[in-house]
Symmetry: C2
């Protein structure tokens, strides 16, 4: 009888989930999956939570329910802290775990290229908490504008700047344009919707550089129809609580959202492990480390170049295919078969602009407009995790499409306060909720 192989997976994203599924109920394998959250997040729709179109629970599903049918998978909520490749163990905040095979896939986080002090004024969008925070800021800006008599201050509250013209930045800017021009216009009585500005800033010469020039131009025109100003070839030089600077130029804006750069997250690695650009870990053709063939790194955290030498992008399909590949590789290895190389099957890319437009590049077909948006919606509903969520998301989209309303437009407090700390007036846990904690000169 073969010895039980202990597979330890750090991270329950697309890599971890698919690797675990592939190893589910496989004899001779014992899987432990550790994630700092208890849920798998459907990242591609995270911006819809930030833009108040979906609720957190609609794009996140507990890892336990996704994997509950597999007897050989243990799921733990914890945070990996450090790795000892010689002892073959990972230390976490809930204890030490030994492994025979280790899969590390902690994803990425955004980076400010050395200006981390901008972070409080310009949050990024990688986690559910960040999405909720961005939603709070955007909706609060409208609420403050509604109560503001001074026109200058009102304009500042209604100016939204998105930094970064990749798919996330474009999707946020499109949703913001739509939100301020159409969705919220009829709810607010004092706000003139034409006063609101949405500015998308891109350092390169055009938005969506990974798409063809033609589709990128189409997306720019679609964004402009939603009132979004596109500023290309501009670099951010400073961000304060109430403004953003681009060299000599200064824009007064209460809300800035950062979608400009990412780098790998992850645990502390021994020195001998080689990192590439964006702190990603350089992996071999089979996703293992050159120095440690029993350690695999995949997804956004890995720097993998295929035969053409171009590194793979940080997309959900890449991570998904890598997770499935690793499960296959481990099953083959148990049977004594040799390792194969990973090959990414590029099935295309998509970006959506506002409520009913998208651009789509599947290689064999490129299209834009409403048809592309419909395809976008179908694909996302199909791939979203969990049957119940699929139905709920579809219903919500259909309903907001028809009614032009957003579903989850609540400002929920950032922090939960206890009683009895202050005077009588702040006794309530939810009092003073909207004091703009990160806001500048304006009241």
């Amino acid at each position: 009888m073969p010895v039980l192989k202990k597979v330890l997976i750090i991270g329950g994203g697309f890599v971890g989930l698919n690797a675990a599924k592939g190893l589910g109920n496989v004899k001779g394998v014992d899987v432990t999956l550790i994630d700092r959250n208890n849920y798998h997040l459907f990242q591609p729709l995270l911006y819809q939570v930030a833009m108040a179109a979906l609720s957190s629970a609609e794009i996140a599903v507990p890892l336990r329910s996704l994997l509950s049918r597999y007897k050989n998978i243990r799921i733990l909520q914890g945070e990996a802290l450090s790795l000892d490749p010689e002892k073959k163990s990972v230390t976490t905040d809930i204890g030490r775990f030994d492994y025979d095979i280790l899969i590390i896939a902690c994803g990425s986080r955004h980076t400010y290229f050395g200006n981390e002090k901008w972070e409080p004024h310009a949050p990024g969008l990688k986690t559910l908490e960040q999405a909720t925070e961005i939603r709070r800021r955007v909706l609060s800006a409208f609420e403050r504008a509604e109560a503001e008599a001074d026109a200058d201050k009102m304009t500042r509250h209604l100016t939204f700047v998105v930094v970064g013209g990749g798919p996330t930045g474009v999707e946020i800017a499109g949703a913001l344009g739509e939100l301020s021009r159409f969705t919220l216009a009829k709810d607010f009585k004092a706000i003139d919707p034409t006063l609101s500005r949405v500015i998308l800033i891109e350092a390169g010469p055009r938005i969506l550089p990974s798409f063809s020039k033609k589709l990128s131009q189409k997306a720019a025109r679609d964004l402009e129809k939603l009132g979004v100003e596109i500023w290309t070839s501009r670099r951010v030089t400073d961000i304060t609580p109430s403004s953003i600077e681009l060299g000599e130029e200064r824009i007064l804006a209460s809300t800035v959202i950062w979608a400009a750069g990412v780098q790998a997250s992850g645990i502390e690695m021994p020195d001998q492990i080689q990192t590439g650009p964006q702190k990603k870990i350089v992996v071999e053709k089979d996703l293992s480390l050159k120095t440690h063939p029993d350690i695999f790194v995949a997804g956004d955290q890995a720097h993998f170049s295929d035969d053409s030498g171009i590194p793979l992008p940080g997309l959900a399909p890449v991570a998904q295919q890598q997770g499935e590949f690793l499960a296959r590789l481990i099953k083959r290895e148990i049977k004594g078969k040799p390792r194969e190389s990973f090959h990414y099957k590029n099935r295309g890319q998509l970006a959506t602009i506002g409520r009913s437009r998208a651009i789509l590049d599947f290689g064999w077909i490129k299209c834009s407009g409403f048809i592309a948006w419909l395809l976008w919606a179908v694909i996302h509903i199909y791939f979203i995790i969990g049957f119940q969520n699929r139905m709920v998301v579809m219903l919500r989209w259909a309903s907001s499409y028809l009614s032009f309303r957003k579903g989850a437009r609540l400002v929920v407090n950032k922090t939960w306060r206890f009683y009895g700390k202050g005077n009588q007036l702040s006794e309530n846990p939810d009092s003073r909720s909207l004091k703009p904690e990160i806001e500048g000169g304006s009241p």
Copy 2:
């Protein structure tokens, strides 16, 4: 032409929403509604958010969308601070507002009868933030139990104490019993579901004292079937982060939920205004103040006794009828008609126990069990605000009823952290999310 009457409403709960609706597009009336949140909360289902069955957005709807069709209603997000009845103005954190007629309906909050220091260890359930916090604690307790090797510590994580045997306490205890015995049992591999304990503590001789003795006994039996222990005639003497004391007796429990007492919330009142029990404001038969007939107080914040001398309970139907009554009264007053007295039409009361049982007392009919539960579900879906939410809640209930799963079982971090405050390991905004901030001796 008559002078425009300025009606100022503080609070967007059932009173404020219904008063505003009743005055919507009424000529000669100008309405300003101020709430510290931008949404109306459907309080009766709040415990379902705490018990991970519904998402926040499913029981809360932005006040703006509920009232957007009325041209004469202005909605502002702000917090009322103090009242000057002589100058007829209310000071808020977003400015001062004058009124001709003032409606105050700020609801209630829970009270610890002088032991406010228990609050961090035993949160109450009155706001969305509190519901999210209770959910985080309950689900985290299961996650920690799953990772715990020590049997004593595991038991402590799996012990849930609910203080207060009113409808809220009963509904929470029932949902907890079901969650630990059935819903989560198959998701967690290491936890023995029979180890989990749910204890409901009531100071009086029986739970649900507002219902008949027979229905109260039926509810107790239903709770016991879900594994809930009911301890009546017991008083809490101390609560710590990891235990609760009842005189000599001590229970080790990581999670304690407070559903034992409420008192009126609200703004600072001038001294001459009379308050009754639970800090409620004593109102006349027309809900106005004896000293100031232009000020009305209603809902949970008001102490109103009808002809029988019994004060009205803090229930949604009471608040709703009072809001409608006030709108009618103001419309009559504009036409020069005299004021009438408020009479509460008691349409009955309901409480649900777990997934498919309820008790129901409509006066002309009393029932319990599955039929009562179906009626409970239909009534709540009917009264929930907003068509879209009604559909989504129905779908989610149907689906979790069939699949025995909970829809929104995510542990989302309590606070959102910024980068760069600590060392490399805590760089990520969502790192170290589950460090039990309010937990005692156990790791």
